[in-house]
């Protein structure tokens, strides 16, 4: 089903901008100001990071059918953000390695002298300092991920009413109401789970994994692993349920809607005079344009969600790389515990990345399915 959706979306994407040229200004559209204001706010927030790229620009281009969108510019944007982030996080890497070297030095001092308490104390302090840095940067990454998920949610809440109003206008008012409430229900449940269960569990697991390395006497890494496993399990179960639910809603909506429109068309076609253009045909062309417009809105939605999700994901990924790299460099120096601790922070960050990526993908599916529903209905027409 995923493949089918992706193929469908690509087809829509390929054909939409050109078709949107036709009648964009001529037919009535629902109020798009909420999306407009959301995108310009997003542009302002991300101005330093995304440079010339503008979400509102893409949005207006698609609406006017003059989309000059190439994958190269997006990839370039991602790459530049990756490098920018890498140079910023490079400082963190430097700090981590420097502290590790101090730690190793102090350990050597401890071995050299008989009275080792002082060097042990200073080593512990350095270790705690290192953990402090790690925890604070982990905190920052969590906040970035939460913020990204919240802005995707806000965008979806601005986009869905527009898509659903268009769907309702195309003939399936009941279906639109059904899909709107089902999709919002699923999104809200999923976000609740992520924000209030999965993220805290990942956080606990990271903290416990770090604390576990402080004292060799108290081993609590099994507890950390338990939390991590619960978070993973919860994520995979909820993702499966979400996809199944949204898929079912999509199929149910598509068939119901198509039949309703078909019936409406037959009713309108009966009394039309033989000669000239029939009212049903006139209605068809209006609906066709509306459908194209709806697809355009959907495609912009999908692109925006992809980018909103990708930017923080790249940042988190860079952090993961830095922690893993630091762990790999520190281990040969002889600080196994420290290396393990940094490695476990890297793993926890990888989990955060996974959660963010999955959320982005699920919201992407929602848009794909809402686009698909109207298309299938119109095909039946």
């Amino acid at each position: 089903m995923k493949k089918w959706l992706i193929v469908l979306l690509v087809i829509i994407f390929l054909f939409t901008p050109k078709c949107a040229l036709a009648d964009t200004n001529e037919i009535a559209m629902p109020d798009l100001s909420s999306i407009d204001s959301f995108l310009s706010e997003l542009d302002q927030d991300l101005q330093t990071e995304i440079g010339d790229f503008s979400f509102s620009g893409v949005w207006h281009q698609i609406r006017s059918g003059e989309l000059d969108f190439d994958l190269k510019s997006i990839l370039k944007l991602f790459l530049s953000i990756f490098l920018q982030e890498l140079s910023v996080t490079g400082v963190l890497l430097g700090k981590l390695i420097l502290l590790a070297i101090v730690c190793v030095f102090l350990t050597n001092l401890k071995d050299a002298f008989e009275k080792s308490d002082i060097s042990l104390l200073s080593r512990s302090i350095v270790y705690l300092l290192l953990i402090g840095i790690a925890i604070s940067s982990f905190n920052l990454s969590m906040e970035i991920a939460q913020g990204a998920i919240e802005s995707i949610r806000d965008f979806l809440y601005a986009l869905l009413p527009v898509l659903m109003a268009l769907l309702a206008a195309m003939g399936g008012a009941g279906t639109a109401a059904f899909i709107y409430s089902s999709v919002l229900f699923a999104v809200t449940v999923m976000l609740h789970l992520v924000q209030f269960f999965i993220f805290p569990l990942i956080y606990f697991s990271a903290v416990l994994a770090l604390v576990s390395r402080i004292s060799p006497r108290f081993q609590i890494d099994k507890l950390a692993k338990l939390f991590r496993d619960i978070a993973l399990g919860l994520l995979s179960v909820s993702t499966t349920l979400f996809i199944a639910f949204i898929g079912l809603v999509g199929f149910a909506g598509a068939s119901f809607d198509g039949l309703a429109i078909k019936a409406a068309k037959t009713a309108a076609g009966i009394f039309i005079p033989v000669v000239g253009r029939s009212l049903a045909d006139a209605m068809d062309s209006v609906l066709g344009t509306a459908l194209v417009m709806k697809n355009a809105v959907g495609v912009v939605g999908a692109i925006v969600i992809l980018i909103i999700c990708a930017l923080p994901a790249i940042k988190i990924l860079v952090q993961v790389i830095v922690y893993k790299l630091a762990a790999a460099i520190i281990q040969p120096l002889g600080e196994n515990e420290l290396s393990e601790a940094l490695g476990s922070i890297g793993n926890a960050l990888l989990m955060v990345f996974a959660v963010l990526a999955i959320c982005g993908l699920l919201f992407f599916f929602i848009i794909a399915i809402t686009i698909g529903i109207a298309n299938v209905s119109m095909m039946l027409r």
Binding site: A169, M170, I272
Partner: protein, 172 residues
């Protein structure tokens, strides 16, 4: 439930850190062994406490209810229906203007007609033609009104398969 876990994680961290510091502060010897025992017991209680609380949770914890969830689809559907009505009107206008153009051409072909302005009223739901109002300008004054009106009414009525009383003709 999650608060319980949060408290547990914080407590464990505190106990472990405290042990680390006390071990550094206290001189090695008998005292350190006792310290380990005490801190071990403390950690024991910190870990066991939430486990025991979970057993009692069933009676004390309120049932998880969905209170922040409220979706009102009526607004969206209403917006959609208004939009559909606008589209219907747009399509209807488009349809009317098509028929008007066609009628204009049809009537212009009749001899004696110089210019025509057709106005068409249709049912916006079914598209059925309800009334065609034609304003005709004659080529010359000699052309007879009654004959011309009859010819026009016949042609238009026959073309659209209409009852001739649905066609109104005004001479300018």
């Amino acid at each position: 439930m999650l608060d319980l876990l949060r408290t547990m994680v914080i407590n464990i961290s505190i106990v472990v850190l405290l042990t680390l510091f006390l071990e550094l502060l206290i001189p090695s010897g008998e005292l350190r062994r006792y310290l380990r025992l005490v801190m071990g017991l403390l950690l024991f209680s910190v870990v066991l406490n939430p486990v025991l609380t979970i057993f009692n949770l069933a009676q004390t914890e309120p049932v998880f209810a969905w209170d922040s969830y409220e979706i009102d689809a009526t607004q969206v559907v209403k917006e959609g229906e208004d939009l559909a009505q606008t589209w219907q009107n747009q399509a209807s206008l488009d349809y009317n203007s098509q028929i008007e153009t066609q009628t204009n051409q049809l009537v212009t072909e009749i001899t004696g007609v110089a210019a025509v302005d057709a106005k068409v009223k249709t049912d916006s739901q079914t598209g059925e033609i309800q009334k065609i109002i034609l304003s005709i300008k004659k080529k010359s004054k000699e052309v007879e009104n009654t004959g011309l009106k009859k010819a026009i009414a016949q042609k238009v009525a026959g073309y659209y398969n209409l009852d001739s009383n649905r066609i109104e003709i005004n001479m300018i």
